[in-house]
């Protein structure tokens, strides 16, 4: 803002007042605010989906999956490669990459993660961190650093306009899609038998076993599922962002902020915090430009100060 203000003021005060731009009124301020809000909500839906997998994996396995950003990247890069190699576009990539990333997650859990589950959680954290470096460099080596092209899917390239505010059709689609997935995951975990088993296994693995539940059977698919969600988010991102090896490297930081704000392992928390962070970022961009990202981390710091376990973190962690 500081660079814009004196510039505009000087311009208006100047003798050659030739611009036909109307001065901002309360109405246009309101319109802008509504526009920012909608953009924030759309962004929030996406953050929620991307953070959901992180929350699920932590909730069920107690693993802080640092490679979530890399898996998100793999989803997007995979979609771009799929398009280039086979011509299969976005609508194919959504299910295919999700399945592929699920299998990748299963492999990752079977081959690597499971061996460290009994050790200090730090080991798995380091493992997934190392895996991130590896995956990013492999993609760089294979596909370069400047990224891969990925077009908007046909039919979603327009705008949806309501009065003075308007959003791109794709943005609206991505938000609605993300929210639906979040809702579905929440329903599965809370309302179905499978969900109950998974939750019981995480709450008290010993007692669940004693009751005849094969706990370890569920660990692998849940991990795969979390990774699949990251891949899905990546595919969803591909049409609207840069598809590069590094795309997850910064994104993971925002995701950690989201899950920390929401409360580690809490699915509802991840969703609510996703929207909060989306809104904070949009308002930040609208009213404080360069500081828009700072606000996200200020929000994080604030939440931790007031509620160390996050907005919806489990009480046991708050003691």
């Amino acid at each position: 803002m500081p660079p814009a203000r004196p510039e505009r003021a000087a311009y208006r005060a100047g003798p050659k007042l030739e611009n036909n731009r109307t001065a901002p009124t309360t109405g246009s301020h309101m319109t802008a605010f509504i526009q920012y809000t909608l953009q924030g909500l759309a962004l929030g839906g996406f953050y929620a989906l991307a953070a959901l997998g992180l929350a699920v994996i932590f909730g069920v396995l107690g693993v802080v999956n640092f490679s979530h950003g890399a898996c998100y990247m793999l989803g997007a890069v995979g979609a771009a490669v799929l398009l280039d190699a086979t011509g299969l576009g976005f609508w194919w990539a959504l299910p295919l990459m999700t399945i592929a990333m699920f299998l990748f997650g299963v492999l990752m859990e079977r081959l690597l993660v499971q061996w460290l589950l009994r050790l200090d959680p730090l080991y798995n954290f380091l493992l997934t961190f190392g895996l991130t470096l590896l995956l990013v460099d492999v993609v760089k080596r294979k596909y370069g650093v400047s990224g891969l092209p990925y077009p908007l899917p046909a039919g979603l390239d327009g705008r949806i306009t309501l009065g003075a505010v308007s959003l791109s059709t794709y943005q609206v689609f991505a938000a609605v899609f993300s929210i639906s997935v979040c809702l579905a995951v929440w329903l599965v975990l809370t309302k179905t038998r499978v969900g109950m088993i998974v939750r019981a296994s995480t709450e008290d693995a010993e007692r669940s076993r004693a009751l005849g539940i094969n706990v370890s059977r569920w660990v692998t698919p849940v991990f795969g599922f979390g990774i699949a969600l990251a891949g899905l988010a990546g595919v969803l991102r591909a049409p609207t962002g840069s598809v590069t090896a590094d795309m997850g490297s910064f994104f993971i930081i925002i995701l950690f902020a989201v899950v920390v704000i929401g409360g580690l392992g809490s699915i509802l928390g991840a969703v609510v915090a996703g929207f909060l962070v989306g809104l904070v970022e949009a308002y930040g961009q609208g009213y404080a430009g360069r500081f828009s990202q700072v606000f996200i981390f200020m929000l994080m710091a604030l939440v931790i100060l007031v509620r160390p376990s996050g907005l919806f973190g489990r009480e046991e962690a708050a003691s």
């Binding site: 505009r8 920012y36 953009q39 092209p149 840069s242 950690f256 828009s292």
Partner: protein, 418 residues
Amino acid sequence: MQRTTSRQTLAVLATAVTGSLVLAACGGAGGPSSGGGKISDGKVVIGLLNDQSGVYKDLSGPNSKVAIQMAIDDYKAKYGDKAVAKDIEIVAADHQNKPDVANTKAQEMYDRDKADIILDVPTSSAALAVATQAKAKKKLFIDIGAGTTALTGAQCNKYTFHWAYDTYMLASGTGAALVEGGGKNWSIVYPDYAFGQDMTKSFTAAVERAGGTVQQKIATPFPNENFATFITKAGSSKPDVIGIMAAGGDLVNFVKQYNQAGMADKAKLAVGLMFITDIHSLGVDQFKGTTFTDAWYWNFDAQNKAWADKFKAKTNTRPSFAHAGNYSAAFNYLEAVQAAGTDKSDDIVKQLEGKKINDMFLRNGEVRAADHNVIHDVYQVKVKSKDQVKEEWDYEEVVKTIPAADAYGPANPACKMG
């Protein structure tokens, strides 16, 4: 319970890591270095210092080594037995776009590898660090990849030359062209770090010189993923032109979201700095009609094309202007060695200063003695639409050639050559 403690620990850990990563993210990507080389006097050693693994790898990176090798081959072919420099070696290193790494690597190159000259060095802050080393060690440095005008301004020195482009030239080309075409009112969106600020300053000056106005200058964080709200804001003053000063992934993010915001119909898009690799990675569709200034384009004429074909045979890709610039700088350096009969820095500087050059890269080129800016004709280009593209990498339509003097303006008065 054990479980409780570990959860707590993890929560704290994740928080701490998130925080520290925010700080780390400002640094940029690391990577292996491929430095090293044999110490040998009686040899001309050319040091190539650039980004071998990060965001600028594709637009220059390892393929610039190929370009320099082509220059060496051409030099040897031209002079044969009469060549003064018989033994020419290239040492390459990765500076990871970090000024401190660039500083150390430049020292190593000059001292340990006995480099007579360092080439390329993208990232302005890294380039300025190397310029300081060149001055201290009295060894040559020709910058190709960085854009800052400080190299030929306040921080110029006797041993540093700036070969391909700078922010002044980018701004005067694109800014003036669009204002003349009716784009009087501008909004500029820029990443809030040295390059973005420098570009915004240059563009504002160029637009105002041409009679236009910059109504909004919007700073964004760097790096940044989501530009939707910034784009809404930039469009709120109903500008004729929206200028974006971001590079790399941020540029791609911006352009995709700019098109999705339907802005392409409302305002012209001007990209401050664009490399052909950016168009390649995003696809021509996204950039269709975008105006920018290019220092060199491979498919401009037969001479460029012939060189680009040779380059493609070795690398399987088309050259960016940075590749061609590295070739030109290396070749002209060797020509200077040939003319001077030695590789002593002061003699080479004397050879280069004021030299008028016409080669594959430089048209109507001149190594300006006053500030060591190597000025040359540059090109106002427009990105082709998909049906105009005849082959891969055939993305640019040269609208106008901008004469060297117009593009670079007068010599920088801030430069006091010591």
